[in-house]
């Protein structure tokens, strides 16, 4: 995957670039908004990571310009700004996701994965499958093997999100943002409790577990461990 990193904090940039390269991505970097915009317009990227506050051209402005040029590269904003309404501004300017510094690298990787995956075109799926687990989005039903699984609406959305990102790490924050649409830290491990209930429904009594905990990162649903 080709990733563009626009970040003026050079140490943070080096860390980001190294981490992404280690994760197997091809990375270009820029330290200001103008150079970032030039790069973004001249080459195709799978995703761009852009700091909100940049010299020469602000991150928001850069993305606005990018969108004006009908460039649809997914953009992940990084921001060290206070974050109550900055997130809204970032998404309005054309950003696809918003991460506040300091962030965990696994969180960033998980979000990049999700952004890049989202971009891949494909037929609209009405049936999600992981191993022998099936989720029918039309009838809103789930079954594993021959067993029907009874899900609460929120559990259904949780499982749907996990299955749409099958094979990817999904962090607790991502779940809270996508499934519950909350952008705050709920302090207690509420997500873990929801996950363990879901796990009891889809994995209990089956030989192969599908829903896995990724240590220090979050969760992943996949057929083979």
């Amino acid at each position: 995957m080709r990733i563009l990193v626009v970040e003026d904090d050079l140490e943070a940039q080096r860390y980001l670039v190294n981490g992404l390269k280690e994760a197997g991505h091809v990375v270009d970097d820029a330290a200001d908004g103008e150079l970032g915009l030039t790069l973004a317009l001249s080459r195709p990227y799978d995703v761009a990571i852009i700091d909100r506050m940049l010299p020469r051209m602000d991150g928001l402005k850069m993305v606005e310009e990018l969108r004006e040029h009908s460039n649809v590269t997914p953009v992940l904003f990084l921001s060290a700004l206070s974050d109550v309404d900055d997130r809204v501004k970032g998404l309005k300017a054309g950003g696809d996701d918003y991460l506040t510094k300091p962030y965990a690298f696994v969180e960033l990787l998980a979000r990049l994965d999700a952004l890049m995956r989202r971009r891949q075109p494909g037929a609209v799926k009405t049936l999600l499958q992981v191993g022998d687990l099936e989720l029918d989005l039309l009838t809103r039903t789930a079954r594993r093997g021959d067993v029907d699984i009874d899900l609460q609406p929120r559990e259904f959305r949780l499982l749907e999100y996990l299955m749409r990102h099958a094979g990817q790490v999904v962090t607790r924050t991502m779940l809270l943002e996508s499934v519950w649409e909350y952008h705050f830290d709920p302090q207690t491990n509420v997500i873990d409790v929801h996950i363990s209930r879901l796990r009891a429904k889809i994995d209990k009594g089956f030989d192969v577990p599908l829903l896995h905990t990724v240590r220090g990162a979050g969760y992943m649903i996949r057929a083979r461990g």
Partner: protein, 478 residues
Amino acid sequence: MEERSGSARRDADHSPYEVQTRPQTWRIGLLRTVAFRIVLLYVALFAISTTAILAFTYWNTKRALNSETDSIVSAELSALEGQYQELGLVGLINALNVRSMRGGQMLYVLTDPRFRRIAGNLDGWPKVRARESDYQNFKYDRDGQTRHARGFVFNLTGGLHLLVARDIHEQYESERLFTTALPWSVGLLLLLALGGGVLLSSDLLRRLDVINSTSKVIMAGDLTRRVPVSRAHDEFDLVASNLNSMLDRIEQLMKGMREVTDSVAHDLRSPLNRLRNRLESAATRLDPDTHTAAQIDAAIAETDHLIATFNALLLIAQAEAGVVREAMTLVDLTSVVEGVAELYAPVAEEKGIELAVDLGEPLTLEANRTLISQALANLVDNAIKYTPEGGKIDVRLEERSGVVVLSVADNGPGIPASEHKRVTERFVRLEQSRNSPGTGLGLSLVAAVARLHEARFVLADNGPGLKASLEFVRHPRR
């Protein structure tokens, strides 16, 4: 336990702690303005004094005119009396006949003991008592017209009665004119003054209204608005321009506050970010089972705690300064409550706590959805933390006469009423709860969110337990 919560409840009844005092925004009616009241008072004083002066003048004039009449009558009487004593009854009758021929305002009549006319220019004895005591006013007819007169009765020897009087009809007419005109003119005066008062106070009100409506818009968050200053350079313009320079200063401070929080956020988050990055990259190079790896994990957790505390503090500072007001939209409170309750339901259930939700009618409110959700989450989180196993938590959303009340009540140990104020301050956690996780900013954040929404944050005893309520006053749609 029962004992303690009982006393706490009593205290709470006396002083439930309230965080927010709302700015007063009653509507001033025309009749309640200071200008109108001053005008009214002035008019009343003016009317009273005018009436008094006029009455005094009237009374004085009347007295002067009467005494003039009286002295003329008295002179005539003594002249006639002289005639009578010198020339007897015949002389008196002659004198009366001569005087009656002259015409004029003087009136005379002489009657026998049975009041039959003997001489004089009156047709008969008018309705006058035959006593020599005092001057008397009476009516008589002349040329078919009833006229007023004032005179004196003199009883002669032999039972004859003599009345000498003066026609005061003109004077009487003037008096009557005056006494009927007086209430009318006072009434007219009052009416005119009232009109003037209304005009004056409505003018003042209009100018005050401009200031009021502008300050309402500003209180609602638009700090760029200013009170218009006219070119008259009067007192109102002075107030307006003072207000404006005050607003300039506030706007500057708010802008400064935003810049400070932004740059503090940036300057603290960037190094924290680098710190976390380094720790993370060090950890990835280590076997996760070593002691060093565990230490680094602990350090990362510590960093995250630091970040969480910092974020909460920053949010409180912003909410208190009102900088996040822009993000206010019409929020479906019912769905917020449902969402938060549903998020925490499994956690509560695991602890054996019943989480009951009472929603009533669907409610919407002008609010910041994220902050309201977070405040409610903090309250529910708190309740779950401090409620023992088997306890019950009631989340309730209702509207009572224009006030939307969102409350979370538990039956845990509660908080003593004396501590209600303290727990909403920053970093306070009661001693007994030191060991539970959290930044200690939960309730402070709720208080800040309440302030931002001009809501009241009320902590009260739930007998036993704690009842935390947010009371929102509906804003008229802007």
